[in-house]
């Protein structure tokens, strides 16, 4: 199927009331979640997945993709107005965004951020449309050994999801793998169920994710008890013009385009996300500027470059996710869970059997980026009001939505208790510096590796009694994948070095939101 055939099939899926609602809710909801320091796109998607159960597949996936891109943009608004990045991707934006606010150019800074984010997002959507289909064709040649290595490759990304201590990141991944063992094995043997038949189906991903990301966050917010605080520090005076003047825009356009392309490339790379892209974007801008000394004093380049780069990451990150099932970030890992729950398995099938849905999501993602610009233009200045919601009001709402979300998974109380257990586990992990995102990644990829190793062993046995390992080594694609695995193992080290060098150069910014 050509791209054009895919696009022509997409319109029937896209022009529905549900898809339109999913798009609007995703854009507006993502922006609000992004603007609220402490809440991330990852948590937003985890919390909203149960709401998508009753939706059709296109609307559901589109909503998640819209939340992803919109939350990255929303994070820049609190970075600009209150010097607090709503998401880690917006930390670099604080450097020049907040000084612009202090100079009375808040609206101008938001306008620049909106323009750059929209352009970055659109370019990444076009890249997704052009790169993903041919890449997915590759997966046509995949059998059990390749899928096993794909799962294994995904597991090597665990190190990159561990923002701090690598060893604790690996421990989190191992916890996820162990939890993934619970339930019936591919050989139909009840493993670690301890006689409880409710565990035969394994640990449900959605309640586990809601617990790890949302309930643990409710408990963290509980530390604010009695402080009567909102998430906002101080309210900025929002004035000035929104859209950049034509001359300024034309001057910035080459930089925005360059940062967008770089952002797409960083998004495709496993393990390197929006935070790294924004620092790389800022560095590009500084290197090309004739007035390097003005960076950090509130100049347009310092806002446009990181914002174009970090939004371009979103479409880039969807490329390996949709084609090979490799989530390169915690948000992408949660989205992988969402895809699986809606019966959509990444790979060639998405671009053949489900082409209409997939192309509708890609085109919808492009539209979401445009809509994000329009909503940002109309409502961006008011988003700090959202940040003023007091924590005591916010906390019970998140708690209740988490519980009902967990219940809706199977409509029984068992899943709610699973959610609570993972909430407590997530909180303890966060307190002791163990990241929670690798648990989710391992919980998805562990059972996949388990299934493929079983299938592969059966296939190998039917080939004259060779072992699974011999079978794997006889396939050329497996050798390429093994090379990628070695690269994946070193990617956290490379990412860390890049990130460290930029942070050292520019200094730490604001209260960097934790990547939850």
């Amino acid at each position: 199927m050509t791209i054009w055939e895919g696009i022509s099939q997409a319109f029937a899926h896209l022009f529905t009331l549900q898809a339109a609602l999913g798009l609007v809710i995703g854009v507006v909801g993502g922006m609000i979640i992004g603007a609220l320091p402490g809440l991330s796109a990852t948590m937003g998607i985890a919390l909203l997945i149960p709401i998508t159960y009753g939706m059709d597949q296109t609307a559901a996936i589109l909503m998640m993709a819209a939340i992803y891109t919109s939350a990255v943009y929303g994070g820049s608004i609190s970075a600009i107005l209150i010097h607090t990045p709503g998401t880690p991707s917006s930390a670099a934006t604080c450097l020049d965004g907040y000084p612009m606010t202090q100079k009375g150019e808040a609206l101008h800074a938001i306008g620049l951020s909106t323009t750059a984010s929209v352009i970055g997002g659109i370019i990444s959507a076009i890249a997704l449309l052009l790169i993903a289909p041919p890449l997915a064709r590759l997966s046509l040649n995949f059998q059990a050994p390749e899928y096993f290595l794909i799962a294994f490759f995904g597991l090597t990304l665990i190190g990159s999801l561990a923002s701090g201590n690598m060893l604790k990141g690996l421990l989190a991944g191992a916890i996820g793998l162990v939890v993934g063992l619970i339930g019936l094995s591919p050989e139909v043997y009840a493993r670690f169920t301890f006689g409880n038949f409710k565990l035969n189906g394994g640990i449900d991903l959605i309640p586990a994710m809601i617990g790890l990301f949302s309930i643990s966050q409710v408990m963290v917010l509980g530390e604010e008890r009695g402080k009567h605080s909102s998430t906002v520090k101080e309210e900025a005076v929002i004035q000035g013009r929104f859209l950049p003047p034509a001359k300024e825009f034309v001057g910035l356009l080459p930089l925005i385009l360059e940062c967008s392309v770089v952002g797409v490339f960083i998004g495709i790379l496993p393990g390197a996300g929006g935070d790294i892209a924004s620092w790389v974007g800022l560095n590009l801008a500084k290197n090309q500027s004739k007035h390097k000394e003005l960076f950090g004093t509130g100049i347009p380049e310092g806002v446009a470059a990181p914002e174009a780069a970090n939004n371009a990451v979103t479409g880039g990150a969807l490329i390996p996710l949709l084609t090979l099932g490799i989530p390169g970030s915690s948000t992408a890992a949660v989205m992988l869970g969402g895809l699986t729950i809606h019966g959509l398995n990444p790979g060639f099938e998405l671009f053949s059997k489900f082409a209409g849905i997939t192309y509708a999501v890609i085109i919808g993602f492009l539209v979401a980026n445009i809509l994000m610009g329009l909503v940002g233009w109309a409502a961006g200045r008011y988003l700090t009001k959202v940040s003023k919601v007091p924590i005591p009001i916010l906390l019970p709402c998140i708690a209740m939505l988490s519980i009902i979300g967990a219940y809706a998974t199977k409509q029984n109380m068992f899943t709610v208790y699973v959610c609570l257990i993972f909430g407590l586990l997530g909180f303890l992990m966060r307190k002791y510096g163990i990241p929670t995102a690798p648990v989710v990644l391992a919980l998805i990829l562990g059972p996949m590796a388990d299934e493929q190793i079983y299938q592969g062993t059966m296939q190998a046995a039917g080939m004259g009694g060779i072992t699974f390992f011999q079978y794997m080594m006889s396939r050329p694609i497996c050798l390429v994948l093994l090379g990628l695995i070695v690269l994946g193992l070193f990617s956290p080290l490379i990412s860390k070095l890049i990130s460290k060098s930029y942070k050292k150069k520019y200094g730490e910014v604001g209260e960097a939101a934790e990547d939850i």
Binding site: V178, E187, E224, P396, M413, L420, T457
Partner: protein
């Protein structure tokens, strides 16, 4: 040894203990199930053991921040309230339990403005009823009211 390092040591020891316990359980597992389970558990055990060793070797070097027990007080109380909420949902239904617990959580957090409290409770429950009950047709736990 610094307290932050002791915490890591304890986490490592717990991981190793759980790993050994689960590894013993795999003795009766069949073929590939046993193979895969053991690979995963060996990875888990090795990481736990490395955490123990690095904590012992780097015991006096600055490491993770110490977590104080008092930091757990409010989050654990919140967790208990949510646990009570879940038990109440099971016994008296979702809407009644939520109508009681939402204001209780706000009060616990130190919020004292009645109008926003009532408005938030009614608004959120109305949203849940509209979305989950009327649109998504989720059958919520049997309620005293609905």
């Amino acid at each position: 040894m610094l307290k932050g390092r002791i915490q890591d040591l304890v986490i490592g020891v717990i991981a190793v203990a759980i790993g050994i316990f689960l590894f013993i359980q795999t003795k009766d597992f069949p073929g590939v199930t046993q193979l895969f389970s053991r690979i995963v558990l060996i990875i888990f055990l090795v990481i736990g053991a490395v955490l123990v060793l690095t904590s012992l070797i780097n015991g006096k070097k600055p490491g993770p921040e110490e977590v104080h027990i008092k930091d757990f007080k409010n989050p654990m109380l919140i967790f208990l309230i949510i646990l009570v909420y879940v038990i109440m949902i099971d016994k008296i239904g979702f809407f009644v339990a939520s109508a009681v617990i939402m204001p209780a959580l706000m009060l616990f957090m130190g919020y004292r403005k009645p109008i926003p409290m009532i408005a938030t409770t009614i608004g959120t429950l109305g949203f849940i009823y509209f979305l989950f009950v009327t649109q998504l047709h989720v059958r919520l736990p049997a309620d005293l009211l609905f």
